[in-house]
Symmetry: D2
Subunit: 291 residues, 4 copies
């Protein structure tokens, strides 16, 4: 699956499809995922909203109190640009453009100053509830964390899957851990918008064949810089525009990784509940894994 | 359970407890709720974020696009004060004050201009995953919607429970439908901050005895105006400050009510995933019910 | 001067001109305006920032305190979309488009999601300091206020000028009072974006001949609805795009009108100091008249 | 004038005074300042609004376009916390607290989450129009810029005044140039909230005796760190709380300094027009000097 194949998968779910690969999540798959719950333990996959400016957070979330001790109630306000390299968020399918189009062949002119007329994040109002699978690459490699810029190739997806004792299948939501926040804790922040560990574009056919429903990472799924000449973020471009795959960026998968080890399983019930922002291009989210 | 009993339930979960009645949700209860999933159908309990000013929305959510067709990507920004009578949100336990204290006896001075030092919404990072129960009062009464100001008394909680064929128990998250949005669709918006159907304060002991873990409504749980002289929102005050009960306000329970009828069951797996806003007093949420 | 003449005046101040009719304000004109000061009395021409939602203010300014008594200092935050029918602001020349162009023939593609590459409000960094003239139409007509939708024709400009005992000339900043806020005080708010007293398009040649440097009003200069079929805001379109005339909208000219009567003069030193917002399309302003 | 004298100057302008030392600016002083204009040249004393995060700008101004080429008009939105070390702003007298009080003896409890009940910035609605005087310390010392942390003592105020050939007097607005932005251009940004050139507290009696009406600087007037043990910002504390002196912080005085040399005069007509933010603690401003 290459960038030039972008159009080949459009309309497989109809002319008016707004959900893309989330169509793989049938009610039966949701029910099966719920049935897999054993211990009832829950884990967040989100970072706290990033309110402090840093080299990897140039536009911090503004968070202000508007009611305090003196007012008789606690109340606050926040302002956020959800895309950005420090916020755990889900991209709507209108987020990425390619050759004048967004997913399913809609013209990019549908993304207006008044919001995205097509493929807005509000189409995910009913949430994503499916089987989640953690692909833990640092664990596979026996390291704390991948270095920024370190690429992941499909053979490691196969190996991590084998190590986890499962097979990624239709409707799964795949979370790829690179150990980014471990690296940041050890080495401090860096310009993450130009250097992150992540998937090489050669992983795209693998994701396509497995019929993954959504893809997330503690980075931005793409390895940065890209190894594909002339295409800055091939995973974003092909996954979102061609495959209709919702991406979740900047997740925090540290506690999830620990819990998977403790529970000795790398799959779980995963729930993702985007805010219902009409015509929005993204939502901050707090995905919850239930073991 | 009256306002003057506020202090009697503090510290039942320890001096440092930050979760209140969410402690009723044990991993076993979460697992049992997941095991109850049958059809795998999912339903949102949230309204779209309220971006348009109205008499019941004087401080609308600001939503702006910051990337459109001309920029090469879709991106946006939003600013929100989550408390307010048009936004589906969950209150943190630091939201309401009584006699100089918040829940568990912390001084209100812990709610500062830099945020809530105690009981911030970030303590719910791992989410709420439990059994949800819909109490559908309009269905019980055979009406489309309750009129603003219409109170609900405990006997109707009993009757709705019986009609639903279940018993509310420890760890349940209770959603009370008044049909507010039906009423608004028929009669237009009104000043909801002074007039809403909801629970009379006499329901508080019922909620306490059943060990409800959290409480939500399409209104604000409280009937407005309050029937308790001198106390504007007794359910907010007693439930949050005394009982440590997280409240969810301004939910949209219309589709949930229809689905309950179609599925012929009024309980479901409920997942609520607040944004991880450090020291925040609330979060907008999109609770997802799974049948 | 009609809409179809739009291009005829471009480049009179050069290919790279960013200031338009403000070029009429030479240092000599500024100095003469300063020399006209007599009493030293100062008057604001701005409304308070509109923080309360109303039918004429659907996107209110958000204003929050971020430091209060409990924090040891007072501090706050505000968020504003300066264009809008309740905020006193100055339009940058990049604000209005006509046939694919902004003022001086720049393509509208210069107005990007990253701001206006040309004609941004920051070009007014050195401020506007010139002679101001109040044209007080309610006074001319002997009424408290003009009704919404009431048009003003050029003969009234002549008459008001005569009544004021002055001649509008090159470099003057003209403020047109319609008495809007008096009307609002008497009759309550209305949907001002579709109905306001203001100038008919036939006033444009008058403004052009007098070499007015900037134009303001307590409305939006245009009469709404427009009397020109098919052109919603002909004064905005021709004044900004063709003539390079900066417009100031939603001023408060009540105190100015009273002061002019008390001082028995309808001209004054006027200072306007837009915020230096790089690539911005407008700035809220507080124009100060000095008598 | 020491910190312990704070209360001694309160109420000199009455129990209800909201303007403090701005009372020194009588209409006659305003008129005399206007009469001093010679060339008509105007100069901004503001930096562009600081939209980019940096070590001296951890909470950047958010600036978003909400109308671009594709929408048919240019429009934008910005959100700002005016206090902060990268924004040219004027402090309201409610900004600084001392021993439970703000200026004129009002209790700090008047600074609430709903804004400052007393001494809000809106009291400056009519603007500040007076004689401005530039005290150019780098010019006095023959250097490009003062180093961060470099203190200025009263003898240098006397010397700069002599060098400028004028005497600072009642109603003057004094701008102190340290060359901060030159230093930043040469050495890059630094944590300005802990290290800035500025006035030692020993300058306070000088400012008081001269009856300065307002004080500004390209820093924050105070030298940081303070030389007064236990008082972080004695100039802020005494000037604002005791003297009722409005402070302007983070001005850009580079072009002003050059113009003073070119015009061979260090006094000018100065106009400052705060936004009319009801109960606000500050306003971003663009002070304009007219020569």
């Amino acid at each position: 699956m290459a960038v030039h194949d972008t159009r080949s998968k459009w309309r497989r779910w109809g002319e008016d499809d707004q959900l893309g690969a989330l169509n793989f999540i049938t009610p039966a798959i949701t029910a099966a995922a719920a049935a897999s719950v054993r211990s009832g333990r829950t884990v967040s996959c989100a970072r706290p909203l990033a309110t402090e400016a840093a080299v990897d957070n140039p536009a911090p979330v503004a968070h202000h109190m508007i009611g305090t001790a003196t007012e008789g109630y606690g109340a606050d306000y926040f302002a956020i640009a959800p895309h950005g390299f420090a916020t755990s968020h889900i991209d709507a399918l209108c987020h990425i453009f390619h050759e004048g189009c967004v997913y399913n062949g809609y013209a990019i002119e549908t993304v207006t100053a008044h919001g995205a007329v097509k493929l807005g994040i509000h189409h995910l109002r009913s949430g994503i509830v499916s089987r989640g699978v953690l692909i833990d690459i640092p664990r596979l490699r026996g390291v704390d964390a991948l270095a920024p810029g370190d690429p992941i190739f499909p053979d490691e997806l196969d190996a991590a899957e084998a190590q986890a004792g499962l097979t990624v299948g239709s409707g799964d939501v795949l979370f790829i851990r690179t150990g980014r926040w471990q690296w940041r804790a050890l080495h401090g922040p860096w310009e993450a918008n130009s250097s992150l560990a992540g998937l090489d574009a050669s992983c795209l056919p693998w994701l396509h064949e497995r019929q993954v429903a959504a893809l997330g990472s503690d980075g931005v799924s793409d390895v940065l810089p890209s190894l594909v000449e002339g295409v800055g973020m091939p995973v974003h471009t092909v996954a979102i525009v061609a495959m209709g795959l919702h991406l979740l960026d900047n997740l925090d998968l540290e506690q999830l990784a620990e819990t998977c080890i403790e529970e000795a399983r790398w799959n779980f019930l995963l729930t993702i509940a985007p805010l219902v922002l009409k015509r929005g291009t993204a939502s901050p989210v707090n995905p919850i894994a239930v073991f």
